[in-house]
Symmetry: C2
Subunit: 267 residues, 2 copies
């Protein structure tokens, strides 16, 4: 019996990670949980985000998943060690893969990180980069408005551009050559961010790097589905408003979001 990959996010943003996973591993079954009743996690405390994340993970475990992807930067930042400790399966977050890639590609040894308030405040990217190479200078900036802008579908208009300019003003002055998009919503702003930062700055999409890490982990453990039958199952669960998830989710990935099921994962 084929076991699925489990993925959770605070809401819709994790679909950008799921999209990368499906691109890299088209033979896999997946189960996605969006905690839309309690979204967003970005401005909430470590304790609250940890509690919610454990509930999400326990829900997904019921489906006999072979690996858990924490497709939310805030949750990865606050509680990945705790999830790894509590769960009997491999757990992969979105911070480490992005940090590792940034360290690999930076030539100037100056890296920028943008994310939610929680992700930035946690220092998780800063710590992950410094753990690999303490000589790299890291410049951080929270960009809380990007998430609501993405959900409104305003990712390439003048408001998105002005917002990005305001947020990136400080980062742009730091002579970085690598910028980590440390929130699953941010790849939708790649065009605008790239215009502002210039072509000499490489943008790191954490979701893309995470998919590569999932691939490697499954291959190492001999759990990879190497043959795509074209008959894969992709289930979607949300804790609130399936209709809104389908509607807004279509801005994030083109997959079929027809069957979104409502569940209660809270204690």
């Amino acid at each position: 019996m084929k076991k699925p990959i489990g993925i959770f996010d605070s809401g819709i943003g994790g679909l950008t990670v799921l999209k990368e996973i499906l691109n890299a591993m088209p033979g896999e079954d997946t189960i996605y949980l969006g905690d839309t009743a309690r979204v967003p996690y970005g401005a909430k405390s470590a304790e609250t985000v940890t509690r919610y994340s454990l509930e999400n993970a326990r829900f997904l475990l019921k489906f006999d998943i072979k690996l858990l992807v924490v497709a939310c930067n805030t949750a990865s930042a606050y509680c990945l060690p705790r999830l790894k400790q509590e769960l009997p399966i491999p757990v992969i977050g979105v911070i480490e893969p992005g940090a590792r890639k940034a360290v690999e590609v930076t030539k100037t040894k100056r890296v920028g990180v943008i994310g939610t308030e929680g992700t930035i405040r946690s220092g998780a990217y800063f710590d992950a980069i410094k753990a690999i190479n303490p000589a790299i200078a890291v410049f951080i900036k929270p960009c809380p408005l990007f998430v609501p802008l993405a959900e409104e579908g305003w990712t390439n208009n003048q408001i998105a551009r002005l917002t990005a300019q305001t947020y990136l003003h400080y980062i742009k002055k730091q002579w970085i050559d690598t910028l980590i998009l440390g929130c699953t919503h941010y790849p939708l702003f790649k065009g605008v961010i790239s215009d502002i930062m210039g072509e000499d700055v490489m943008l790191i999409d954490s979701g893309h790097e995470t998919a590569a890490e999932v691939f490697k982990c499954l291959m190492d453990k001999n759990l990879l589905e190497t043959v795509s039958s074209g008959q894969n199952t992709h289930r979607f669960f949300v804790t609130d408003s399936p209709e809104r998830f389908k509607q807004v989710g279509s801005k994030f990935m083109t997959a079929n979001l027809d069957a979104v099921e409502l569940v209660n994962v809270g204690s």
Copy 2:
């Protein structure tokens, strides 16, 4: 023994209502609950918002409050009748007072309403206005970005102005003479909205009208504290991140937010 007024909101926005209550009734004690662990309510379903609201109300009831103010438009829109039915004390929401005032002041009989997705989708303002005078034409527009903009403190910059222009474009063409600010965060954008709509359009601040309704209700029931001792107690509870509540809350009201206590109201 003096009984306090209880007030809850999904988060910080209700502080604009509390401010109006303190202005109108300086002799009252108050207890405020911001459900910051589950904020925002604006894009969540009626069922979820009702569940959260009942939990908030039950928490405040423990303090022997004499009246409950539902200082959240989304919660008022979705579950005011249910709260009135379940609670043994008077319950006042923010929809009815705003709607009544708009009906009272409109001369052209054309009224606009802006609010969160939930408030607008519920049709609560539309229904409340039509119930008083079915001849009034009502024009609605959800403005989801105003809440995160207010919390970022961007209420009067070019981004706020462009966002308001985009959202109000449709409403402005309807020849309204009255616009209800149907979200507790929106009074912070009065300057920008007023500039765009022009001086012939009257802005209705639901929080201000709600405070008048609370005053009237307490007076009618002989529950009003007419003498201010200058020694009133104002307690603040949040379900997450007291520090963030203090910091962002200071943009909403100048009262002393030093003592913000963390509680868990969830089931």
